[in-house]
Amino acid sequence: MMSHAAYVFTSYGIAALTVLGLVAWVVLDGRARRRELAELEASGIRRRSAAKAPGETP
Amino acid sequence: MMALFFRDLKLSIRAGGGAMIGVLFFMTVVAVIPFGVGPDLNLLSRIGPAILWIGALLASLLGLDRLFQAERDDGSLDLMLMQETPLLFTVFVKCAAHWAATGLPLVIASPLLGLFMNMSEIAIGATMLTLLIGTPAITFIGAVGAAVAVSLPRGGLLVSILVLPLAIPVLIFGVSAVYAVIEDPAPFLPPLMILAAITLFFAVIGPVAAAAALRHASD
């Protein structure tokens, strides 16, 4: 039988892990998407709206 | 060969892949049982191992029909048949990848469901161990069914019907090994050893039979 404190620590630990995992997923996912977008734009593919944006046109 | 393993893993994880569906099905099936038999915790803990095993058996049959059919539909199977590497190895690796993508998650999810079934910690551990040893056998048996049904337009249900009777020994020894742990007098090791033997047996027989079936299906 675990002591009561152990249950408390376990649940806080799992909560921390889950939340950190969620945050990590969101951050990493965002980075991956930005990288893909940058790669696509580097290869010269642009959305119509972005192509018209000021500063983009030479 | 590792390339094939990782390709199949990738395919099952990518959009439309079946890796998550199996676990979800497993959880849903097990969660439905208490509604059927009532929330009597003693009863649930007694039938828990059997429920988990049946749920895992059904869940691991779920994606099996696509194992070779997807390869046939886009023509990859033709190329696999032509290679110098024996078809046997190709089938074995595909089974291994299929198990890693659908069987392994079931094993990992089983302790959680064991808690829901009010099973004791020892029973949960034993169920997990037997599932770990037993589910590969289901995949190997299923590969035979999938290979036989590969050219049929509606092979999905047929695969389940063909495979379930063959998988019964796995179920019997898997469940009896778990009960041997819970109920003291029965010895634990013999059923576990038989289960391991069944898995090893089908790991050899399954790919051989599946490869033979695939060769004939291509005619």
Partner: protein, 256 residues
């Protein structure tokens, strides 16, 4: 912050994904900072307050369990609202919002189930009972996972948005069942003690950390939700650009 205010903001000035992205970029650091602040205060409060004479130290699990459970329901409500937005107003961001919320909701529901289980073991002597509250939350968890699976199975958002919106709305019947299950059926789970018409019955000693933690978790949800929505918009942009690239490559080859 409530779902209502978020919805109004979305409909008034966030209709355009590009503007949403710009706003999200400006908003996110503040939201994240505020979340961290509330978590620091909330955690400090929940560690330093006294234990309950009846439940002992385990009462501290409540500070995680109750906010997680509350969020699991709120997240689904946000998704239901977004589903309504998809079906009735055909709002382009509604489907993005609903899709982005599903994994977050699944995580909070998982957290509620696990912490509840860890609380139940020392209090009730068992990890799990099949009573109305627990079962309906578990069903909610399965629904989140099912929605995620559905969203993944149909890779074209234009087709999947309507289907998953309908499923979300159908599943919404579960939310009142969860909320009132403790009152409609006599169960092991204790009834609500904070959100009551006649005022909270809980000791202020526990109420403060609980409220702070609830605010912290709610802020965390909105931070993650906005960030996940941004990711989803970027993902769709990547998809659109890739299709564009495929078409452009064909034209390019012919002119060479």
């Amino acid at each position: 912050m409530s779902e209502n205010s978020l919805a109004i903001r979305k409909f008034s000035d966030l209709a355009n994904p590009t503007r949403f992205l710009a706003l999200a970029d400006r908003l996110l650091p503040w939201l994240a900072g505020l979340t961290a602040l509330f978590f620091v205060v909330g955690l400090w409060l929940s560690i330093t307050t006294e234990g309950d004479y009846q439940q002992g130290e385990t009462v501290r699990i409540m500070y995680v369990h109750v906010p997680a459970a509350w969020l699991s329901m709120m997240c689904y409500s946000v998704m239901a609202l977004a589903a309504l937005g998809t079906l009735v107003w055909r709002h382009p961001l509604a489907d993005v919002s609903s899709r982005a919320a599903a994994p977050i909701g699944a995580c909070f529901t998982f957290l509620a189930l696990v912490t509840g289980s860890l609380w139940g073991k020392p209090m009730w002597g068992t990890w799990w009972v099949w009573d109305a509250r627990l079962t309906s939350v578990f069903v909610l968890f399965l629904m989140y996972l099912g929605l995620m699976a559905l969203n993944r199975a149909i890779d074209d958002p234009a087709r999947s948005s309507k289907v998953s919106a309908i499923l979300v709305l159908v599943g919404f019947v579960n939310i009142p069942i969860i909320k009132f299950s403790v009152e409609w059926w006599n169960t092991l789970h204790q009834p609500a003690s904070v959100m009551r018409l006649d005022g909270p019955t809980i000791d202020p000693e526990f109420l403060w950390p609980l409220i702070v933690m609830a605010i912290a978790f709610t802020l965390l949800f909105f931070t993650l939700h906005v960030a996940a929505m941004r990711n989803e918009i970027l993902r769709r942009r990547v998809t659109a650009l890739r299709r564009l690239a495929a078409r452009a490559a064909g034209r390019g080859a012919r002119t060479q």
